[in-house]
Symmetry: C2
């Protein structure tokens, strides 16, 4: 496996999340776990992945606290991989990845989608503000520094804010009109 820089030392929560689930294959393993799979052979069959890589990724998800490895049979001793509450909490991220994939890359139509189990109605998942119920909107809901932000994070936010301002000024409606 190629050596790669760890994101663990980065305080950004997106980097910390990716440190745990950002390896190639990890999110597809989680997808299959949400489908209900728990056993090594099930994951391997579903993914068509080399056993040594699958083992490494499953162990990584266990180390990261998203799954636990537990015995489901004594004779012979067999283990399965079960989602923890932290692992279950990740499901909405995959549902949005699915929805984004369906919107942009499903050239043959949707192969899977979210539905109400009882009625079968197709569900469109959207991100909303828990308090008001309004849709999250990038022009209104922005990422800001929290209480634990360090100088690097504050500099990144400030740099971004300055660049957004420049970008807005460069848009056509900021260009002075031409009066011949």
């Amino acid at each position: 496996m190629a050596q790669r820089k760890s994101f663990e030392s980065m305080p950004c929560p997106i980097a910390r999340s990716l440190e745990r689930v950002g390896e190639w294959w990890s999110m597809l393993i989680l997808r299959d776990a949400y489908y209900g799979m728990t056993r090594f052979d099930e994951f391997q069959k579903s993914l068509g992945i080399a056993p040594n890589i699958l083992k490494r990724r499953l162990d990584g998800l266990v180390d990261a606290g998203l799954m636990v490895r537990r015995a489901y049979s004594d004779k012979p001793l067999r283990h399965e991989y079960v989602l923890t509450p932290c692992g279950h909490d990740f499901r909405p991220v995959l549902l949005l990845l699915m929805d984004w994939g369906n919107k942009h890359f499903a050239r043959e139509g949707n192969v899977i989608h979210l539905a109400d189990e009882q009625t079968g109605r197709t569900i469109e998942p959207v991100l909303t503000d828990a308090l008001s119920g309004e849709r999250i909107d990038s022009s209104r809901h922005v990422v800001v520094a929290g209480p634990a932000a360090n100088e690097r994070i504050r500099a990144r936010l400030a740099a971004g804010q300055e660049r957004r301002r420049q970008h807005l000024e460069s848009l056509p409606h900021h260009v002075p009109e031409f009066h011949p």
Copy 2:
């Protein structure tokens, strides 16, 4: 770089999404693009990434349709990387990754969070059903086969359903009570 199996041949929309954004670094580049960054040097400074890797990832995001490369200066010729509508559409995924990271791995407190730009109020992003406004709930909202599902997808869904049934039966409340 290590050779890795492409997810492109997989019809699953989660796999197709990860084929485009699942490389190490890609989502952190997108994060910085949402902050407002567009220039190579800005990304490099923010991420502390090797220039050859950054170039490869940016080109990958362009090839995948999430960014466009365009000139912002003629003399000297300089390019910047700007999000496309498809790239902008990915933002909710990163907001949920941020929220999940804040909930589970922010041991020093939150360094960033979502807020209302006007009022400063902290926003908790939640995934809801666009039609009813109800929160997405794994016991009720399930992933099902769509019109373009192939046999492999149907088999995976069926295997998962069977395993969920077995799992429920193995839970304590399904064990017959012990009467001495």
